[in-house]
């Protein structure tokens, strides 16, 4: 099992590579010897000298937020697990990476699997977990082999399995492969999938698998990148780690930029270190010659689209602590959870899709609508029917069958999905339609009027 050779370009001065530090070393390979040569498993040794609650406190103090999309504070999630409740606990690593525009976990799984395993064993020790699964989408067949192999290597060296490094702590890890369904990235769907059932997301509450998760036992579900960060929190210390980010959003975040930029790729940046403009123009080399920026989806395909030259009116905390009104230009939007939230979108999975002035917005939305129509699990009527309906309308519009009422109908359908479904896929499939219509009404009206 060998992955394609991959060479990371040298870092941009704004980048701070922690997760991708190893991978960016020339000649770095996924073997355990190479990992250990680069300081691997030292954080685990340190963790095993700490009390589990000290690790959870460190993760809390680091302000690490989940990197899978919802951005929930990781340490807070972990503290929902009661250490000595006498129940088995599980950790399931979410390596389903399927949100369009997101491509970071793929590189960790293929090129630095031990980083994930070390983070996972530390997380298991902190939450008193003895059985963990790494759920990997089956479209990463090589990654599954690489991670399996890494688990075997780690077992042979006493980092995984029984009595880890003589500490008396046991943890088994297995890989579980998905089977081509985007919805399995939703954490309760992931658990149903792992239980061998149809992966229908579970009805909430309980809101957290930490209450009822895998096999109805307390379970932590975290994204691949999130789990990797845990190791670095212990290595750097939570204060140092938190300092890299903004208050409440610590550490680095891997931004994946795709679409119409000169240098698409992923960039590991301290949270909040750059604006959208800096990301596109300084780091990604701007747009292709002669092109102008038109639209950006900032946080994976489900995040609401931003229009170039848009000006957002937001409320921010002034120097005196009072809320004051402020205007932010689209390119000045800081790429962190709080700012993107305040302009009505989200950092999500940090998948930034850039579109230039050659792109038609009805076409772009239709592409996403087809994605959501294909991926709805079909459990809730508004989502199953609505996602298909929206996709049929935008497809018809593009095929020259636009009708005057189309924008209104699209809006109406989308408005009746969000908030009425079992899982957040409902919002995820409504937000593109709602935001494209709101930001580019003239394009939708023009195509609707065409006959």
């Amino acid at each position: 099992m060998t992955a394609q050779p991959f060479v990371m370009p040298p870092p941009h001065p704004k980048e701070r590579r922690i997760i991708f530090e190893n991978i960016s070393q020339p000649g770095y390979d996924p073997s355990i010897d190479t990992f250990i040569k680069h300081g691997g498993y030292e954080s685990l040794k340190k963790a095993l000298t700490m009390k589990p609650v000290e690790i959870i406190d460190a993760v809390k103090a680091s302000n690490l937020r989940g990197r899978g999309g919802a951005g929930f504070p990781c340490g807070v999630k972990w503290s929902f697990i009661k250490h000595d409740d006498g129940k088995p606990h599980y950790i399931v690593v979410n390596g389903d990476e399927s949100e369009p525009g997101t491509f970071k976990d793929r590189y960790i799984l293929h090129y630095d699997p031990h980083q994930l395993i070390e983070g996972l064993v530390i997380s298991a020790y902190a939450t008193n977990t003895h059985l963990s699964y790494i759920y990997i989408r089956c479209e990463f067949p090589e990654a599954a082999g690489i991670v399996w192999n890494a688990i075997e290597e780690a077992k042979a060296r006493g980092f995984v399995g029984k009595n880890i490094l003589g500490s008396g702590f046991d943890c088994d890890i297995y890989v579980h492969q998905g089977a081509g369904a985007y919805i399995c990235g939703e954490e309760t769907s992931l658990l149903e999938s792992l239980e061998g059932k149809r992966p229908y997301p579970r009805i909430k509450p309980p809101y957290f698998p930490a209450v009822l998760g895998l096999y109805m036992k307390p379970t932590i579900v975290n994204n691949v990148e999130t789990i990797c960060h845990v190791k670095h929190i212990l290595r750097l210390g939570p204060e140092e780690y938190a300092k890299m980010g903004t208050p409440g959003d610590g550490g680095t975040r891997t931004m994946c930029v795709s679409g119409d930029v000169v240098k698409p790729g992923f960039y590991e940046l301290p949270a909040g270190a750059v604006t959208l403009g800096e990301l596109i123009f300084d780091i990604c080399g701007g747009l292709k010659p002669g092109r102008k920026l038109k639209a950006v989806i900032p946080g994976g395909s489900s995040a609401k689209v931003l229009r170039a030259e848009e000006i957002f009116k937001v409320k921010v905390k002034g120097a005196d602590g009072q809320m004051v009104d402020k205007e932010i230009k689209m390119l000045d939007v800081v790429m962190d959870a709080a700012t993107l939230g305040s302009v009505g979108s989200m950092i999500g999975s940090a998948g930034v899709i850039v579109m230039d002035d050659t792109r038609e917005m009805v076409w772009a939305l239709n592409n996403l609508n087809q994605f959501y129509a294909h991926e709805s699990c079909g459990q809730c009527t508004p989502c199953r029917e609505g996602s298909l309906w929206m996709s049929k309308i935008t497809t018809r519009m593009l095929d020259g069958g636009g009708q005057g009422a189309d924008p209104k109908t699209l809006q109406n359908v989308a408005d009746n999905i969000a908030g009425r479904t079992v899982c957040a896929f409902g919002e995820a499939c409504a937000w593109p339609t709602q935001s494209f219509l709101a930001k580019f009404p003239e394009e939708f009206e023009a195509v609707a009027a065409e006959k």
Binding site: Q4, P88, E97, S98, E99, P100, G101, T102, F103, D105, R106, L131, R137, C138, E139, F140, P141, E142, Y174, H176, Q177, G178, A179, G180, A181, Y182, S193, L194, E195, G196, K197, R198, P199, L214, Y215, C256, V257, S258, G259, D260, P264, G265, F266, S301, G351, I353, M355, R359, A364, N367, L368, Q370, F371, H374, E375, C377
Partner: protein, 183 residues
């Protein structure tokens, strides 16, 4: 099973479950050990193992896996019909899965898929309904081509997963060469 004559190709197809070997069973038993809490969790990995071995999952496969995990056949059937990865019919020896989603579409994946189809002698407009149906497959059984959704490699679009290997930054010109590697 009904009596078969060699002249009738349809009747000559055998039940996949009749071809299970002791080695296959040993591998299955090992997989089941990964799930000490519930055997049912092994249904996806068993389906993968089955499909990797036999090329598809027929009725006998569904029944065999269900029996092995002490489940009803419907518990397995409902997975085969839900997950796009599983199919009830054989596909080509090489499966070309072209990413259809936004970043790849912007980088020309629709044209890439068409070119793959013509390079292997398939109608680019052939429909694929999913639900266990095999993707459109060339007459010689060598190739299947289908669209799939985002393969998490949008930064090197357009991409295609060909069997187990990801091909990135595909250009229309590079397609005959790529197909040639799998002839």
């Amino acid at each position: 099973m009904t009596a078969t004559t060699a002249a009738d190709p349809k009747a000559a197809t055998t039940r996949q479950a009749d071809q299970v070997t002791p080695e296959f069973e040993a591998a299955i038993d090992e997989i089941v050990t990964h799930y000490p809490v519930s055997k049912r969790s092994a249904s996806l990995p068993l389906l993968h193992y089955w499909q990797n071995t036999f090329g598809s999952v027929d009725d006998s496969g569904i029944e065999w896996i269900a029996a092995r995990l002490e489940l009803q056949p419907i518990n397995i059937y409902e997975l085969v019909t839900f997950y796009p990865w599983f199919r009830r019919e054989a596909a080509g020896k090489t499966i070309i899965r072209v990413c259809r989603t936004l970043a790849c579409a912007m980088a020309g994946s629709y044209e890439v898929k068409e070119k793959f189809c013509s390079a292997v002698g398939l109608d680019p407009l052939a429909e694929h309904h999913g639900f266990g149906e095999a993707p459109p497959t060339s007459a010689d059984g060598k190739f299947s081509v289908e669209f799939v959704e985002c393969l998490a490699s949008c930064g090197s679009a357009p991409v295609a997963l060909i069997n187990n290997t990801l091909h990135e930054k595909i250009t229309p010109e590079s397609i005959p060469g790529i197909v040639g590697q799998y002839q």
